[in-house]
Symmetry: C2
């Protein structure tokens, strides 16, 4: 563990980029707004009416896109088989628990030693209410959900460049930003500066609304007193008996809030995919894959590494290697639905026409990294009254997410000690797993000094080193999408693709599922027509 947690300066261009973007938080936010629209067009169970007459479909990949296709195609009367590289279903919808091990590109193997019940989800970890398709399958397949604590007013915003590096409670930053915004707009209205934009009648209503929302005092000021403390908290909270009278806290002034840059951290929970209600499966995200497995596990051949996908007028032939035995194998079907990530698929022999072939190669994969850390106790709850939620920081770890379950439990607990994208993730992934973990502990201890004393173990997944994805998710530029997206999604002969990369909801399981449902609907139309 180094004294100064500084990344190796080997990629100056990337670090320059980071600096420009304003640190990891800004980068995360840029990433999360880049083409990641978040609701879903799912309108209810898919209907594949008509007789498939025993047509066969070979599905490549048993992530959620492949699994949902297997489920719905078999229901519609198709003969289905699924080839999966890993020795488990789920793909990136994956949970690491004690006893699991994971070998990354380069050969480093991590043994997860978390206590029973503790886990991290290296891939997707949240299910927003408006991801209607995956919510539908959770309901149908009996996946038990619990609230995911996206926003916690008592978690921190941390910046190395503000408040001397001392983390601030989220509620202080938001309450003071809202209060000052409200007071400023009141001033502007009272100066008649907005007469062209707001009618006189509306102005009076607007003043009342601003006072209500910003918690201004009777003079429409955001100042020390009951109204502001009712939002940001008290210096001494009210209680009972004779020592009970509350003492208000002092709001920060506007300049402090603005110059801290911490206002950047307010918007996230307002966006579609982070609004409440938002959920996680009880026990880990792979409960979704396990639920699908109960339905279609019999169709899935694990440990099957696809090496070639060839079609002709009659059907599709897929060559694969049994990774346990090394045996060369072959599978045939009338149709092939391929959900293999483009980062891998672009390395596999495949006879599709130029439009799809070019599209497959047109999509770079975003870097992503998660570090799960296990500690001896829930010090964030016990010492700091943070029950779930996310602390954000401009350190390369980007965020710390506290567990949304088993609140107040005694004994070891895991938190997500780093979740970052882009340049930081590239840099971070280039380190050994042990070093990634050591740095997450080092950086995190700037926010929680208890880290070093309480640390037990960790796992670190850098997605560019995950052998079966070599990247986190398909990162579409607007230009690439305009040129290649339709070519990627259209049926090429007897082959069609699905997955989050074939969607407008990259990185989310909802993209994979809705992409798969769209693909099999078109496939079914083709079969019915043919």
């Amino acid at each position: 563990m180094t004294d100064k947690p500084v990344l190796p300066m080997t990629k100056r261009d990337l670090l320059t980029l980071i600096g420009k973007a304003g640190g990891a938080t800004a980068m995360y936010m840029a990433m999360s707004s880049l083409g990641q629209a978040q609701t879903s067009p799912f309108k209810g169970p898919i209907k594949l009416d008509g007789d498939a007459r025993g047509a066969s479909v070979l599905i490549l990949g048993a992530g959620v896109a492949g699994l949902v296709a297997a489920l719905e195609l078999r229901r519609a009367g198709y003969k289905v088989q699924v080839l999966e590289f890993n020795n488990r279903v789920g793909g990136r919808s994956w949970t690491l628990r004690g006893g699991d091990s994971f070998t990354e590109l380069g050969g480093a193997t991590q043994q997860c030693t978390f206590a029973p019940g503790n886990y991290i989800n290296p891939g997707p970890w949240r299910l927003p209410f408006n991801h209607y398709a995956i919510m539908h399958y959770c309901q149908e397949l009996g996946v038990q959900l619990e609230p995911f604590m996206q926003l916690n007013y008592n978690a921190y915003i941390h910046s190395t460049r503000a408040f001397g590096g001392k983390p601030q409670r989220y509620r202080h930053i938001q309450a003071d930003f809202y209060g000052h915004v409200s007071e400023l707009l009141v001033k502007a209205v009272n100066k008649n500066a907005l007469a062209d934009a707001v009618t006189k009648e509306d102005s009076e209503t607007l003043l009342a609304a601003l006072r209500n929302w910003g918690s201004l005092d009777k003079d429409y000021r955001y100042a020390t007193g009951k109204a502001s403390s009712d939002r940001r908290g008290w210096t001494k909270g009210p209680g009972g008996g004779l020592t009970a009278e509350p003492v208000p806290s002092d709001p920060m002034n506007l300049d402090t809030v603005l110059q801290s840059g911490m206002w950047r951290n307010i918007g996230t929970s307002l966006s579609n995919e982070h609004q409440t209600a938002i959920f996680q499966p009880v026990g880990g995200m792979d409960m979704v894959a396990r639920a699908f497995e109960r339905e279609v596990g019999d169709l899935v051949r694990l440990n099957s590494k696809v090496t070639s996908i060839q079609q002709d007028g009659q059907g599709v032939t897929v060559a694969y290697i049994d990774t346990k035995t090394g045996a060369q194998m072959q599978a045939k079907a009338d149709w092939c639905l391929c959900t293999i990530p483009l980062s891998i698929l672009s390395q596999i022999e495949m006879n599709v026409d130029a439009p799809m072939a070019n599209a497959i190669r047109a999509v770079p994969y975003e870097a992503g990294l998660k570090v799960g850390l296990e500690f001896k106790r829930r010090f964030w709850e016990q010492d700091e009254q943070i029950y779930g939620g996310i602390t954000t920081t401009d350190l390369p770890i980007s965020q710390i997410s506290y567990p949304s379950s088993n609140f107040m439990a005694k004994g070891p607990a895991t938190l997500l000690g780093a979740y970052t994208f882009g340049a930081f993730a590239y840099e971070y992934t280039s380190l050994s797993p042990a070093e990634r973990i050591a740095r997450a502990v080092e950086w995190g201890s700037q926010i929680h000094p208890q880290y070093k004393e309480e640390y037990l173990s960790g796992v670190a997944v850098g997605w560019h080193r995950v052998p079966w994805t070599q990247g986190c998710f398909g990162s579409w530029s607007e230009d690439a999408r305009a040129e290649h997206y339709k070519n990627l999604c259209q049926i090429d002969g007897r082959i069609l693709l699905a997955g989050e990369h074939a969607s407008f909801i990259p990185a989310w399981q909802e993209g994979g599922i809705t992409s798969s449902l769209d693909a099999i609907s078109r496939l079914h139309q083709r079969v019915m027509a043919g």
Copy 2:
């Protein structure tokens, strides 16, 4: 069930007041801001050092205030006994389940027929993270907590006076209010109208912050497009495959948002006692009382109705009736900690001096009413994608709170179909339980048309008809508090009081517990000094 759900017009003055206040929502908000400051001064476990030398304390009332005193006083070496009117501990911290029955003043008895696992909490139902004392005891006593869904962006705001009575999704109102506020303040800054309040450097930062927070487009406008849809939702959400491109939704204009009055419903989740993280005990609020009962249940005598509290230089004598046998009983102790609600205590013979006697009579009790409704299925989840959270309305029911647990479960489920204070609650309580429930169904069906088809059963608790409280909570005016609060809390001879009524956190269990801890600390000092 009447066709027109109009309350009997017997109390015109109250209804006039309601009209002025802008409906039930406004009333609720007025109530909830009236002296209800919400954090807590609790700093950790109480320390009662020194030898109590076998001093005895008689505690009246086994609500949370009485129970915590019993726990801590016995630990400190006191001889403790507790008298409780009901046949259970917990007081207002109370859960109604199938099989429970409840008889109110006037004699009406309700049998709760909810299916196993379904319940409502007629009294307290939420545990905010900043209610440190009750959170401490939940941790210590092993009360399992789960997140309470206070805010759900997909729940409704409903007003009979806006949008033709059609409920609006919360996210539309908030996103559009925030967007327009943001855009207006940008305009004011750009007009240089706030040069006296914001420096030039801060102005530029402020513009960036407003764009980020309000989700303005690149021209700093809140208009139809990706940025606004990312907050308020899309007309057609993005998905996967070839029919996947999202279609933005159209924001409402500012005038519509303001004139709807629905901006009044935005602030609640920002206030201290409603911010995340906020919890409920798994299985019902009475799990808190049951946890205390495991510790001190042996000290509590149930079914004991106190009729007289008399002290002299040597101790306190309490007369009570065994409500099962009618037998006249007596209990004696060196000291008495009385947690009986003032609404009841003011009717009991008690020889305290004028200051405390006057204080006991100085606090009116707020009216409150809750209706729990059981339905055949979770139509709010299945049909409307509302998973937990609260719909607010200007109808007399004030709010509908959807269950925060067992999401997606099949079969019957309960929701809170009315929770209202003040004039509406007085009116509503004056009806028979059956009529209260019928009206909750009638009114609620204006928001959820499924109500009538799916309704199974209900229970309705109007707190002014609850025999052992005759009111919901102590409603202190500022004047009354200035004159009487200290006199209420001070020790009078050998008698002292505790409960939410003896706190600055009325209506919350935190007030009862911190009041009790403060009282027993002072009692212990007195004993140690004596």
